[in-house]
């Protein structure tokens, strides 16, 4: 768990210590995290308080060297699957994730049937 400091984080030491790679990681993550109080926006796009808090949290975690999977599972453990724009691959999403392949197979079958090849 995190060490929670009992004093207010000074906001302007935020966003200064990331390397270019970390910035890329941070930007990538915040675009894939849904803002729960907004209507279909990622926390990258939103100005809601919760979005700001989560951005700050993610920023600190990236700064501490956590990777994408760790940050995402941190969020998922607290807010559930809904918070991630990338649905996880599990029984109820098999159809969702396999649909492109399914459609390709259907197309091939159909084309064969009508005699294209």
């Amino acid at each position: 768990m995190f060490l929670l400091l009992p004093f207010q984080v000074v906001p302007d030491d935020l966003n200064t210590n990331l390397t270019a790679t970390q910035q890329e990681l941070y930007q990538g993550i915040i675009q894939e995290v849904r803002c729960l109080v907004c209507q279909n926006q990622s926390i990258a796009e939103s100005n809601a308080e919760l979005a700001k808090d989560l951005r700050e949290e993610i920023f600190q975690q990236v700064e501490q060297g956590r990777n994408e999977a760790q940050v995402k599972s941190y969020l998922q453990e607290r807010y559930g699957d809904f918070v991630l724009y990338e649905p996880s691959f599990k029984q109820s999403t098999y159809f969702l994730w396999l649909s492109p392949i399914l459609i390709l197979i259907l197309i091939l079958g159909w084309l064969r049937k009508i005699g294209v090849f």
Partner: protein, 174 residues
């Protein structure tokens, strides 16, 4: 029959859309149900003493996340006070004051009455994130081991309390 395929697909879609129109959107299910409350160490409101998650164990309790800037909390507050005065029910309500100022929160409680047995202050909102809070007020029902059994999103009132929370408290006490 091949020509009926489009209609069949369409019918499926149509039923889906029609149902989604009439079934109310559900609240986000919390992944914390059935799990231990997250660990934390927070100051008590207006005091320098700290409270940790350990201190909440031992009682079936409600944890209520609130703030003075939150409209829903204002609606809910009278009911919380009513609940705290209910001798038969006798359930402690622990408040977590979320992203708020201590002076505002203290004044609010003096003006409106204090339903809480303990009030913790979470000015940065880190603990709220650990609780998966996204919109105050939110209320968690925990047992004496600190396991979360239910989460209510939005203002509680007599009706939804008796429908969703009270039966669970009764069951826990058996």
């Amino acid at each position: 029959m091949k020509r009926l395929l489009p209609i069949a697909i369409f019918l499926g879609l149509f039923i889906l859309l029609a149902r989604s129109l009439f079934v109310p959107q559900m609240d986000l299910p919390s992944p914390l149900i059935g799990k231990q409350i997250p660990s934390f160490s927070l100051n008590e409101l207006g005091k320098s003493s700290t409270v940790t998650h350990q201190d909440l164990l031992g009682d079936i309790a409600l944890i209520n996340i609130w703030a003075t800037w939150c409209v829903g909390c204002e609606i809910e507050h009278d009911f919380l006070v009513e609940l705290s005065l209910d001798q038969d029910l006798d359930i402690p309500i622990i408040g977590i004051n979320w992203k708020d100022r201590d002076d505002l929160a203290t004044r609010w409680l003096i003006q409106k009455g204090n339903p809480y047995s303990k009030i913790l202050s979470d000015p940065i909102g880190n603990t709220a994130i650990d609780f998966g809070v996204y919109g105050a007020p939110e209320t968690f029902l925990i047992d004496d081991q600190g396991i979360i059994h239910y989460k209510h999103i939005g203002p509680m009132d007599r009706q939804n309390f008796e429908q969703d929370i009270l039966p669970r408290i009764v069951a826990l006490r058996k």
